[in-house]
């Protein structure tokens, strides 16, 4: 049984579409489930605020599922956009794009659920702060979508760039590595960002007077949490735009694939860890506003230490690309 190039390209497009939508729906499903579970508790605690809680849940879920819709967009493009000049490199490109968007949507989907859920709980606790809680939740949820936007950009570049002039080996590994680097690296920061935004909503509800300092600390904490997703984006851009010499050996190709995997997997832990650090700091800033400067300093030092393993992954990925 033998297949022509076009058949392989179609198969890759179907697999890529399945990965993009299937993996993308996991994050959005967990995020929406988290929000609904917290809303249930909130309504049980304060049934009179159920109208506002429902409203917050609806708006929060609409933003949290944005990453899932990115997955849908890439899946539809993979399924229906015509490929006039199919080549074997497109097999790797399509699977890479699907993997990138699918993995990239998981973290942001889950992360978006935390602020929405905490905002529902906060409204039950402090109905007078509804408007401020909604704003904080939406700012937090929107920033949570940034790693998924990185994955969307990478997937679109993969889909619309012309790789056909490049040598099949090791370019196939470079494009797959790019998908892994940006997609998997988005998981940790997405979840970490969500934790920070959730803590800010909780802090605003518990200590309304701390809303401004809590929001500022949240923005700072989220910015640092996202750096490992930026490393993933950087490695995927190098893998996509650097021209690698043609070779028949398998080792250079595996080095590029390894670089993508190294950066992607290596960013999960630091992303969540930095999010946990900022989660705690944002919560404590609300309770202890007098010492907020010291708390923010400790948070930044803690995040820097937590980030070190992400930096090691970046260094090894760069060594694999440029040295090996």
């Amino acid at each position: 049984m033998s297949y022509d190039v076009k058949t392989w390209v179609d198969v890759a497009a179907f697999v890529g579409a399945g990965l993009s939508m299937g993996l993308g729906a996991i994050g959005a499903g967990i995020g929406e489930g988290l929000t609904a579970a917290r809303a249930t508790l909130a309504i049980s605690r304060n049934p009179e605020a159920s109208g506002e809680i429902f409203k917050t849940m609806l708006v929060g879920q609409a933003i949290a599922e944005t990453a899932g819709i990115f997955g849908l967009v890439i899946a539809m493009m993979l399924l229906f956009v015509k490929n006039p000049n199919p080549s074997f490199i497109m097999v790797a490109v399509f699977i890479g794009a699907g993997l990138c968007m699918g993995f990239g949507a998981i973290g942001s989907g889950v992360g978006g659920g935390f602020p929405a859920g905490e905002a529902c709980t906060g409204i039950a606790r402090q109905p007078a702060m509804t408007k401020r809680l909604n704003t904080t939740m939406l700012i937090g949820s929107s920033i949570c979508q940034t790693p998924a936007i990185f994955a969307l950009v990478t997937a679109l570049i993969l889909l619309f760039s012309d790789f056909s002039a490049l040598p099949l080996c090791p370019t196939w590994a470079a494009v797959l590595g790019a998908g892994f680097a940006c997609g998997i690296a988005a998981i940790g920061p997405g979840i970490g960002d969500g934790l920070v935004a959730g803590a800010c909503c909780e802090s605003v509800a518990r200590q309304p007077s701390s809303a401004t300092i809590a929001t500022t600390t949240m923005l700072l904490g989220m910015a640092v949490t996202e750096t490992t997703a930026i490393y993933g984006l950087l490695v995927s851009f190098i893998l996509m735009f650097k021209t690698f010499p043609a070779t028949d050996a398998i080792a250079p190709a595996m080095a590029l694939l390894g670089a993508g995997l190294c950066m992607g997997i290596g960013a999960i832990g630091p992303g969540i860890g930095e999010g946990l650090t900022a989660y705690s700091a944002v919560g404590q800033v609300g309770k202890n506003q007098k010492n907020s400067a010291e708390l923010v300093r400790v948070m930044l030092v803690g995040q820097a230490v937590s980030e070190s393993t992400g930096i090691y992954s970046l260094v090894i990925a760069l060594v694999l690309i440029f040295v090996v």
Partner: protein, 128 residues
């Protein structure tokens, strides 16, 4: 449910009004596929938002596991509906794919813009 309906009405009205005006502008300056695509995407974005609101009460009062499974089912169902305008844009030349995708995010854009503007106004008010 009344609060949800009011919220839906607020954002959906704004989204469709802007989409129609922007769409007509594009059609008038001879970018018909872009204008039509924007309106088509926004209509389905609104449909998705309304369905999401209608399904909300069904998620309440269940265990975490059941809520997750229901959320996943609801997502797949609504994403199937969101796929329709994209398939139309890919298959039919009279709709522009990018403007359909932009239209699909119109409700989310208006939710964020509304709260961001509120936040900026209140911050400015405090300064004055």
């Amino acid at each position: 449910m009344e609060t949800i309906r009011q919220t839906q009405k607020k954002y959906c009205t704004r989204a469709i009004t802007v989409a129609i005006f922007a769409g007509l502008l594009f059609i008038l300056i001879d970018y018909k596929p872009i204008g039509k695509g924007l309106i088509l995407g926004t209509v389905f974005s609104i449909l998705n938002f309304i369905l999401m609101g209608e399904m909300l009460p069904l998620k309440i009062g269940k265990t975490k596991g059941k809520t997750f499974m229901f959320s996943l089912g609801s997502i797949f169902f609504r994403y199937f509906i969101l796929a329709i305008p994209m398939v139309m844009a890919i298959k039919l030349e009279q709709y522009n794919l990018i403007s359909v995708v932009v239209g699909i995010f119109f409700v989310q854009v208006f939710i964020m813009a509304d709260h961001l503007l509120d936040f900026l106004w209140s911050a400015r008010g405090k300064q004055v």
